[in-house]
Amino acid sequence: MEAGRSPNIEIITLAELKELSGKPGNFKAKLEVRPRYVDPTKCTACGMCTTYCPKEIVDEYNEGLDFTASIHIDYPQAVPTVYYIDEKSCLRLNHESCQLCANVCGPNAIEFDEKPEERELEVGAVVLAIGFGRVPEEVLERYGYGKYPDVLTSLEIERLTCASGPTEGEIVRPSDFAHPHRIAFLQCVGSRDETCGNGYCSTVCCMYAMKEASVVKEHAPEAEIDLFFMDIRTMGKGFDEAFNRAVEKYGFRTIYARVPKVEQVGRKLALTYVTEDGKTHRDFYDMVVLSVGLDAPADAERLADLLGIELNKFGFAATKTAAPLETNVPGIFVAGAFQGPKDIPESVVQAHGVAAECSELLAEARGQDVVHKEFPPEDVELEREEPRIGVFVCHCGVNIASVVDVEAVRDYAAKLPHVVLSENVMYSCSQDAQADLVKKIKEYRLNRIVIAACSPRTHEPLFQESLREAGLNPALIEMANIRDQCAWVHAEDPEAATKKAMDQVRMAVAKAARLEPLELQKVPVTPVALVIGGGAAGMSAALSVADQGYEVHLVEREEELGGNLRRVTGLLSGEDPQKILDDLIKRVQKHEKIKVHTGTTVENISGYVGNFTSTLRRPEGSEVVNHGVVIIATGGRENRPERFGLGENDRVLTQLDLEDELTRKGGRLSRARSIVMIQCVGSRGDGLNYCSKLCCQQAVKNALRIKKRYPKKDVYVLFRDMRTYGFSEDAYREARKAGVIFLRYQAEEKPELVTQGKSLRVKVKDALLGEELLLPCDLLVLSVGIAPGENEELSKLIKAPLTGDGFFLEAHVKLMPVELPVEGVYVCGLAHAPKPLDETLAQARAAAAKAVIPMAKGFVEVPPIVSRVDQAKCIGCGICADLCPYGAIRLVKVGKRKKAETITASCKGCGICASHCPVLAISMGGFTDEAILAQIEAFGEFVEKEAAEEPKEEAA
């Protein structure tokens, strides 16, 4: 939640947009801000008010599974970390009767008289990221929700499995608090259901159901879990694999059936359902979880009226395939679930992408309205003094304090060498605690800080910034992890946990005393991007970067731009893909900031973020270019497995071949009377291990196109799971209405091609009839999926890993979906994973946004944990340079001798060089030999102490 700390993000909560006027670049927005009744500048989030508030209300954050007080905070880490009063329930606001909270509030933060206020803002662009809404309760009531207490929603289960939730992670039935033995998950509740107006697929439920079922199983291993699917739609990158792994590991039963209703029978819930073989079943469960879909956000219609934006028929923002992040009103953009149901990675992709859209529109105003955070100069004199260590021992609410005796740890720390201040803090990460830290540093002239709290992995940057605010070098902090690696894992042994916390604090203090200030390194960035791949993804990314004001080298291996999109001739939305492509090509070729290199390959890439040098090779010669960032958009290729006679029999095509056929008059298609499509040929474990995500949409699209042109032709689609997620579910329904016949086949019983004289037949086992069918087949169309391009070479060139399936591996599956582990390198389109065009275009903009960030800053900051070579000691043996996995050490000539030198921007601080240097000439920032040895020595006291406590008998 670093948004709370950026000086350029102003968070306005309890606020609604009331009016918008003006035009792109110059909008005026009016907001209505409702009162919080608590002054955020005074509230310290101590929680006294909640403790004393006599008015109990249902806790909405915990999905109504718990109670809270009228004055409360949603959760302890909320941003802003300020309590608020629920207007509807507060006794004072409604009956003028109580003011207990005001009486107990130490800092006098309660303001009962606050009134709603209006704010007017001038902005250049508007982003609608209002998320999704809730499926109405009436829909859930059909499944017994509200009537039977043990029918829960997916979000309720989410709170129940949460360790800080109402049951502290224990899975119990709300009716009798018993542990459920049999649990059923019902999919598609409020989704794929026209009777409730939600004809679309919510896209995320199959994944979250599997996640929730897994977590439930971990909390309650004895539970038996059945999941009821219409189709299993785990089409995202790596999702099929994760799904199959979970099913295998936890022994889940997956059943293809839509359960129409739930009944209570005694203490059990009865489900009656029909499986695909036509048989009726009745099973009993202790708990039923409804996998509730994502509805359009409640505010959608109001905003649509206010802003004049169009909604689709389901109430989500209407967008085009060619411009998935743009509303019909220029300057107003949309991202996230409001654009259509989507998961977290897709939402993050759109967030990045929409930032690029704004940045393109407002390129000329970049930097104009930002506030630069100024840190006071470092107090060098203070830093040079003998260590004056301040220790702060965090309660983390009850997270640490309920196990570790934090007061005892505080008192223990106070007696350690160099410690001048030792204190407890309720939440050391809260904004007020940070302010207090700055104050204490100044007041006690502290020059080394030890925070005994959570993990430095997540929280060190936060504290480092506070140090800088106090005029201290950010390297002068050490954290002792007494939560994640102590209180949480030794909950049953408070005494031992307290001892361990003391030892970790002592080791941290020992290290802190030896910490030295480190200079923050800044490396300049060449404001040029190299985009590899001239398909839809590469061209869109190049255009976005260029429109944001930076130069681009766009490299395409083939002589012509366009990539795979050249072969696509229709889109579900009705847009013309060839027109989208032509527009892209024209704009790319015209753009003065884009240099197009066709028929060119990238031969060599060296350097690091901000300073890359690459060789572009063409048959007639090569060119060397300098650039600051790289975007990989090398695409993928159509998989062409040798199945069903593909490539030999001219009556067997792929979907892409069919796209071509669909633009011709006459030909094979016009002669065929019966067309059979087979999905997942060569995919999902049959050659390629994964799902290619777009084939189901493509098959439905092409089936509809055939039916439209030749209504009398028979079209069959043989599938394993129809994965027409999101709004393409509509097209699936339309295709069924148009007479396209869909038949599910089992992975173990694949369809077969049978030749009877001159004619072809497809043999498939029909689940409902339980018999084998022989479908006449004049044209067989295979959905073959997408294979990775030739990524290995590029992967080696830039030292970025590939997934097992051969696509580029992103830095974080959820939160960094377009960044690669190598800094300054980004990925989009099919090089990342198979995906449809709209997602590719959004991701291209996302990559462009991330790529522009270092260029917009003009420099990259390198964390000062890098290695440093003492060239006076260095003997130039070169062991370090050979061993460095990042190529971050080079040998340079200093006078007549060779000496090692760190390339700071490439160094990751691993320290392999330091541990192998035979003359100890290399020191690691923050991890010097002295510091680590001091920690080890401090560990030794733990041994001594324990030995002293033990009875002497062993010694004898």
Partner: protein, 65 residues
């Protein structure tokens, strides 16, 4: 009295230290016999560190990376 080994653990910031954090998030319980030194990579670990750990009395050294 049962033998309670004293273990010094060197954990890599990126993997094992992260894994130890995850163990906490998942509330896995394990014996409280180890003390942790975080390093940015186990490649940082100089053999001297391990010798030193035994010298000051560790019963075991765990290098996690």
């Amino acid at each position: 009295m049962a033998f309670e080994p004293k273990i010094l653990s060197f954990f890599c910031h990126w993997c094992c230290y992260a894994a130890a954090d995850s163990a906490g998030v998942a509330r896995y319980q394990y014996p409280p016999n180890n003390r942790v030194v975080r390093v940015m990579c186990t490649g940082r670990i100089d053999p001297r560190f391990i010798v030193e750990a035994f010298y000051v009395g560790a019963d075991g050294v765990l290098v996690g990376g």
